[in-house]
């Protein structure tokens, strides 16, 4: 349970640090849309197409990781009482390197350029290393651990493994190092990135933010205490078993069976969250809740599709299969969860910082905007409907690329631009109110 005694602004970073990450993310989401519009149906040929690789990383790095890094930098001091050391330079370097590196990576895939890939390797390597070291130190120093902190620790370890695998892949992809079985290493990289870095962070953070913001009962104690650690070790077991397949020790059946057990943790989490959401005292639906419902259902459908692939190998080898799975899990699962949470985090942080500024200055005559006044409900709902259209069109495009790819791209652009606009308006509201408060100081 969140103990608000730990809500400490004194150690929190300047609000500009997380905000720059949150405002950049929709730009990469929109960029993915533009790529889809530009390339059209050729984008949906196979999971190995350069365009799909580019699109995947625009979403996973440019949108999802961007928001997650910004959120962690804010959450560690505010929720766990452990500030990220050197947050100013760490935030600036991580943001810049992640932004430029993601752009370079997307371009490298599209152009098949080893030069741009090396640049991306360097930039992303620097950005993620700086972030991982600083966040790792903060996590190591947490005095009062919690299931959320535990989830963050496993998630960060997964990020390091994901990046290490990507560096190995890149050197193999461009012939810098002789690496056979690239598809298997790619699946490892994908698995650690999606299930480890993103999945474990989302689960860990949910333990705090779902009961806190969605007024649900707490997650079951046994889940909070054991799920993220179990999943991490499950993934590690899978990693070792896959290496065994690559080395020719045993068949793919072995890690396949193992993963049936491990991955069940994710629909278990999704189902439990849907269940506690039904038990909310206040049954008022807000935009975050409906984004989350879509995201959790997306995870459940993604898991179902994955299970079908295990049961029917001919389905798993069809070209549309990995595209469907990726679209469901990334765009139907992780994206709406992160999108929805932004609509809570940004007003929360804005109000929290302003309230503390007001307290410090004694400027109680300045009326702070209500929390709900930072982001308009109508605008947020419009952005949700644009997202929903983009999702359905993207799913349709998997099967009818000629007809649906460009419309999917267009709605992907629109939903991200709308998200960026909504967040920017909240930031401007924050800044304008801060100016009013600061005027009190100068008098």
């Amino acid at each position: 349970m969140l103990n608000t005694a730990h809500l400490s602004l004194e150690q929190a970073p300047p609000i500009s640090i997380p905000f720059r990450f949150f405002l950049t993310a929709p730009l990469f989401g929109a960029a993915a849309g533009f790529v889809l519009i530009w390339v059209g149906e050729a984008a949906m040929v196979s999971r190995w197409s350069p365009v799909v690789l580019s699109l995947t990383h625009l979403i996973t790095l440019g949108f999802l990781t961007m928001v997650m890094c910004g959120a962690m930098m804010q959450m560690l001091p505010v929720l766990a009482g452990s500030p990220v050391p050197g947050i100013g330079p760490v935030g600036a370097v991580t943001h810049l390197a992640l932004s430029l590196g993601t752009g370079a990576l997307a371009y490298a895939f599209m152009q098949g350029s080893a030069g741009w890939m090396k640049l991306a390797l360097l930039l992303l390597g620097i950005g993620i290393s700086v972030f991982a070291i600083a966040a790792g130190l903060a996590l190591a120093r947490v005095k009062l651990s919690s299931p959320t902190v535990t989830g963050m620790r496993w998630s960060l370890a997964s990020l390091v493994i994901t990046v290490a695998l990507w560096m190995l892949l890149s050197t193999g992809f461009f012939g810098i190092v002789a690496l056979n079985n690239l598809p298997s290493y790619t699946d490892l990289h994908l698995g650690w990135g999606l299930l480890g870095w993103m999945g474990l962070l989302l689960i860990g953070v949910s333990y705090q933010v779902v009961p806190m913001f969605q007024i649900t009962p707490e997650y079951p104690r046994i889940m909070r205490d054991h799920l993220t650690g179990s999943l991490f070790f499950g993934l590690f077991g899978w990693f070792l078993l896959e290496i065994g397949v690559i080395r020719g020790y045993w068949s793919t059946l072995v890690p396949g069976c193992w993963m049936l057990l491990v991955t069940a943790g994710f629909p278990l989490f999704a189902g439990t969250t849907l269940h506690i959401q039904r038990l909310r005292k206040r049954q008022v639906s807000d935009v975050t809740l409906i984004f989350w419902r879509v995201g959790l259902i997306g995870i459940l459908f993604g898991y179902l599709v994955w299970l079908i692939g295990r049961a029917l190998p001919e389905a798993a080898t069809a070209p549309w299969y990995p595209l469907l799975l990726g679209t469901l899990l990334l765009f139907g699962g992780a994206f709406p969860l992160v999108n929805g949470m932004l609509y809570k985090i940004v007003p929360f942080l804005s109000w929290f910082h302003l309230q503390n500024r007001q307290l410090a200055l004694g400027a109680f005559h300045v009326k702070l905007p209500h929390m709900k006044g930072f982001i308009g409900d109508r605008e947020a709902r419009l952005q949700f409907y644009l997202y929903l259209a983009a999702l359905f069109l993207a799913l349709a495009a998997v099967f009818r690329p000629a007809l649906f790819t460009r419309p999917a791209g267009a709605f992907l652009v629109l939903t991200n631009l709308m998200l960026g606009y909504n967040l920017l308006r909240a930031v401007m509201r924050y800044r304008n109110t801060k100016v009013l408060l600061n005027q009190t100081e100068s008098h």
Partner: protein
């Protein structure tokens, strides 16, 4: 006189906003009873700064009850002491 405010089903920071707003309506002799599901730590320094005294105790339907009155209002403080 008691003013009752139930914020137990509200998300952060609505309880704090509504509580601060409700304190402005308190007259001499009045106290505010806030029904909350969490112990509202961010509220207390704000009450301190704006000239209010408070008592927070576990209990009630939602988990916590917070009593707030003007600092120095002995009548209100006495009423709170009787019921707590």
């Amino acid at each position: 006189m008691e003013h009752l405010l139930d914020v137990s089903t509200l998300e952060p920071f609505e309880p704090l906003e509504l509580t601060l707003s409700a304190t402005r309506d308190l007259s001499t002799g009045d106290y505010l009873k806030v029904v909350h599901r969490r112990e509202p730590h961010p509220l207390f320094p704000l009450l301190e700064k704006t000239g209010f005294s408070w008592l927070c105790r576990p209990g009630g339907e939602a988990g916590f009850e917070i009593f707030i009155w003007h600092r120095g209002d002995m009548a209100a403080e006495g009423d709170v002491a009787k019921i707590s």
